[in-house]
């Protein structure tokens, strides 16, 4: 059979397409849930209307986004059974448990309280309504934790034994699966990366409005919240990325060697800035390197030995038998760079933004602005950027919205493709994981159906987001400012329209 259309290849493409697509919505959902909850908390505590309007504005964008996150997540729950039945049979005893935990604990939480939040504005007292969005936020984070624990087990299987008689892996220590350092660092990294997405989203949209001098007080607040989120998340992503990298150098040396296109082990090992090479022959023809830096990333010193692709390949051949244990090197190498590059670029743009729009620090009094003014963009103490340069910052800030999404996607592509040819590292090969009973036609059908459907939904979703972004924060009504005092709503007027209806 033509390899390009082999069920394994198709199933992998389908998993890649549906998962990367799903993960465009996930990080924004995780971060916007918490940021919206934060804004609503500010409203409940200060009763300043701008916070309520901000809550409604970002809340609406959050809902448009989470709808897509939820529905594309359904596919994930069943895809293992559909396309990867041998995987499911082999690891279900271990892998199924965190998935079931995720559904029982996190999904129920998230989905039930999101309904209460959406429809609850005129049904729940202020504080209970606020609690609902926090519940949603907790649900999204718990959900991330369980699924990352499951994924971490694929990266670094622990707490299991092989049952030869049943021909499968069996769980022996669930606690270990949930708390191994792969799971914890991966969780730390993924959550901070999620907030990078949300922070950039807020910065970009606030910049869009501020550049047009619209909705200034709300967008000013949102810009600041977005920038601070972006910077904290950016630093967190860098720190957690370094930790995760060190874990990976130990647990999956092949992945990290591939990420650096380091063909042969070196001491000290250099960090590659640019490389172009010959995969077949196993060497680089062009390489620009920073000496010693890779040793530092792997082992915290500038001199230690880091094994290369050829070394690890040989070691794995000795351990697992003949074969090619190298992942797709260019994808791993460039995926790693796009991930870091786009992630850190958004951090840099955030830092620049926070400096440019600072309130007082090293800022001439004449350039300070009030709550209802667009902040001046000031690079040095007493000179604002020229309008032309200022406009450029707003434009760059708007484009930054996409950067963390690109970084997140490449991060996942890198970590999943970098583990190949294994689906569970060192235990189960990807080619042994597909459904033997599912035909090429079936996989092809589902791949075409999902891809087409997702493409159509992407257009619809983006258009809707743009519409609501442009519309800006809604005006508040009397009902908004007078939330009910009783659960189920006050019975002032039995025919009063619902605060929100589909």
């Amino acid at each position: 059979m033509d390899l390009a259309l082999a069920p394994e290849t198709l199933a992998r493409w389908q998993f890649g397409i549906t998962t990367v697509y799903h993960f465009l919505f996930v990080p924004l959902t995780i971060s916007l849930a918490a940021l919206t909850a934060g804004l609503q908390t500010a409203w409940v505590r200060t009763e300043k209307e701008k916070y309520l309007r901000a809550t409604k504005f970002w809340g609406k964008l959050f809902l448009i986004n989470i709808a897509m996150g939820v529905v594309t997540g359904i596919v994930q729950e069943f895809q293992f059974g559909m396309n990867w039945s041998d995987y499911s049979r082999f690891v279900g005893d271990i892998f199924g448990a965190p998935l079931a935990f995720e559904a029982l604990i996190a999904f129920f939480f998230e989905s039930t309280f999101i309904g209460l939040w959406i429809f609850g504005w005129d049904k729940l007292p202020k504080k209970i309504h606020l609690a609902c969005i926090w519940m949603v936020s907790i649900g999204t984070i718990l959900s991330a934790y369980f699924i990352l624990a499951a994924n971490s087990w694929m990266q670094h299987p622990v707490g299991y034994r092989i049952n030869k008689e049943r021909g499968r892996a069996e769980l022996t220590d669930f606690w270990h699966v949930l708390t191994q350092n792969t799971a914890l660092t991966q969780f730390f990294h993924t959550i901070t990366a999620a907030f990078l997405v949300g922070g950039a989203f807020m910065v970009g949209i606030s910049a869009f409005h501020l550049a047009r001098k619209k909705h200034i007080p709300i967008m000013r607040t949102s810009l600041r919240l977005g920038l601070v989120t972006l910077i904290i998340a950016g630093l967190g992503t860098a720190i957690s990325g370094d930790l995760l990298g060190k874990v990976m150098f130990k647990q999956q040396p092949m992945k990290m060697a591939a990420a650096e296109a380091l063909w042969d082990g070196e001491a000290p090992a250099p960090f590659s800035v640019f490389a172009y090479g010959d995969v077949e022959k196993g060497h680089n023809t062009v390489a620009i390197e920073i000496p010693g830096l890779l040793s530092f990333l792997a082992n915290d010193d500038f001199s230690s030995y880091v094994p290369g692709i050829n070394d690890v390949n040989k070691a794995e051949q000795e351990k697992f038998g003949p074969g090619d244990y190298r992942p797709n090197i260019p994808v791993a190498y460039w995926g790693f760079r796009w991930m870091i590059g786009f992630g850190m670029a958004s951090l840099g743009i955030g830092m620049l933004g926070l400096w440019l729009t600072r309130k007082k620090l090293m800022l001439a009094p004449g350039l300070r602005t009030g709550e209802d003014e667009v902040p001046n963009l000031v690079l040095f103490k007493s000179k604002a950027l020229s309008p032309r340069w200022g406009r450029w910052y707003w434009i760059v800030a708007l484009w930054t919205m996409g950067f963390p999404l690109i970084a997140n996607s490449w991060g996942w592509i890198f970590t999943e493709m970098g583990r190949q040819p294994w689906v569970v590292y060192g235990v189960l090969r990807t080619r042994d994981a597909v459904s033997p009973g599912v035909s090429q036609g079936e996989v092809l059908t589902s791949m075409i159906v999902f891809t087409t459907l997702y493409a159509i939904l992407a257009v619809i979703e983006v258009k809707l987001l743009v519409k609501y972004v442009k519309a800006g924060p809604p005006e508040l009504t009397e009902d908004d400012l007078n939330p009910p005092t009783k659960i189920g709503g006050d019975s002032r007027d039995p025919d009063r329209p619902m605060a929100f209806s589909y």
Binding site: E77, L99, F113, G437, M498, Y502
Partner: protein
């Protein structure tokens, strides 16, 4: 009773929860065409399930996840075997979720009408297909010695399973109509009752045929008892809606669903997916289940989480207990 038996029961409970809850919201989706006279009424119907449909759907995800964890072989055989029907269901659930959230987000006539069409079809198709799927599970399908499904898509469309599909479709629509009568006010409530009565009678005929067929095919004493409960509850639900006791009728249509699903699981036990090729190749609670250790952990999780879920989901229904009518639907937002 061993742990894998407990989990067989728990999986049944999850499916009962799913069909009880999403059953009426599928039904309400179907009624947007059968019952609503205009857009305002459509919106009333959609909003009766607005705050809850998402939470209802999680019962399915949990059933899926729990099957994966407790019976990996069942999960693998079922979803790789029933590939295309499951694909259709997934597509429907994706479009349906988006349709609810996005329908009112633009004022254009075309936009709203398309999403309304989507809500109808994506409620109707899964309501039918779940019955087909369960019909096939109970009847037994072509499973070989490696636990692989070796039949085709067309094998799944046999008379017994198709009848099963009609039963779930009509039963869910009936359940939805009763729910609508319980949650609405005004003219639509009266018509919901009238339609529920008619739907109830159609359901009764189809359900009776299907349940008897099941009983004759694979039943035992226990499944017969469950069947009798289902039949009595269904008759009770019809009588209750006839005399205008909407709450009772809804409770009883819920019991009907629960008892009917229980009957199917009782008819299955101890198999989880019988093979029609050779009984020795059937998937059973023993050969399809996870290790005792995994089942033990899962049991703890379920024992703690499930009551909590029931508690806060019930609370949601209490928060949104007020009936709604066309006057409660805001113009635009």
């Amino acid at each position: 009773m061993e742990l894998h038996d407990v989990w067989f029961v728990l999986i049944a409970v999850l499916w009962i929860g799913y069909f009880f809850l999403e059953g009426f919201d599928f039904g309400v989706g179907v009624l947007t065409k059968l019952l609503a006279r205009d857009r305002a009424e459509k919106r009333v119907l959609i909003n009766t399930i607005g705050p809850v449909w998402d939470g209802n759907e999680v019962w399915l995800l949990t059933a899926g996840g729990a099957t994966f964890a407790a019976f990996p072989e069942w999960y693998a055989t079922l979803f790789s075997g029933f590939y295309l029907p499951l694909l259709i269901i997934l597509v429907c659930l994706i479009v349906r979720g988006v349709a609810f959230e996005y329908r009112a987000k633009r004022p254009e006539e075309n936009w709203q009408r398309n999403w309304e069409q989507a809500i109808f079809w994506t409620s109707l198709i899964p309501a039918f297909l779940w019955g087909v799927a369960f019909g096939n599970i109970v009847r037994g399908v072509k499973i070989d010695g490696d636990m692989e499904y070796v039949g085709t898509f067309w094998d799944l469309l046999n008379p017994y399973a198709l009848l099963g599909g009609l039963v779930t479709l009509t039963l869910f629509t009936f359940h939805g109509a009763v729910f609508a009568s319980l949650k609405t006010v005004g003219d639509i409530r009266t018509r919901a009752r009238g339609l529920a009565l008619k739907l109830g009678l159609v359901t009764a005929v189809l359900a009776l045929a299907f349940l008897i067929w099941t009983q004759v095919h694979t039943g035992d004493g226990w499944s017969l008892a469950a069947m009798l409960v289902a039949v009595v509850a269904l008759v009770g639900a019809i009588v209750a809606i006839r005399v205008g006791r909407e709450g009772w009728s809804f409770a009883l249509s819920g019991v009907t669903i629960a008892a009917a699903v229980a009957m199917l699981f009782l008819a299955l036990f101890p198999d989880v997916m019988p093979s029609s090729l050779d009984p020795a190749w059937s998937l059973t609670v023993t050969n399809a289940s996870s290790s005792p250790y995994t089942l033990k952990i899962m049991t703890w999780c379920a024992a703690i989480a499930t009551p909590l879920v029931l508690l806060y989901q019930s609370w949601t229904y209490w928060v949104f207990r007020k009936r709604i009518g066309t006057q409660h639907i805001a113009e635009a937002h």
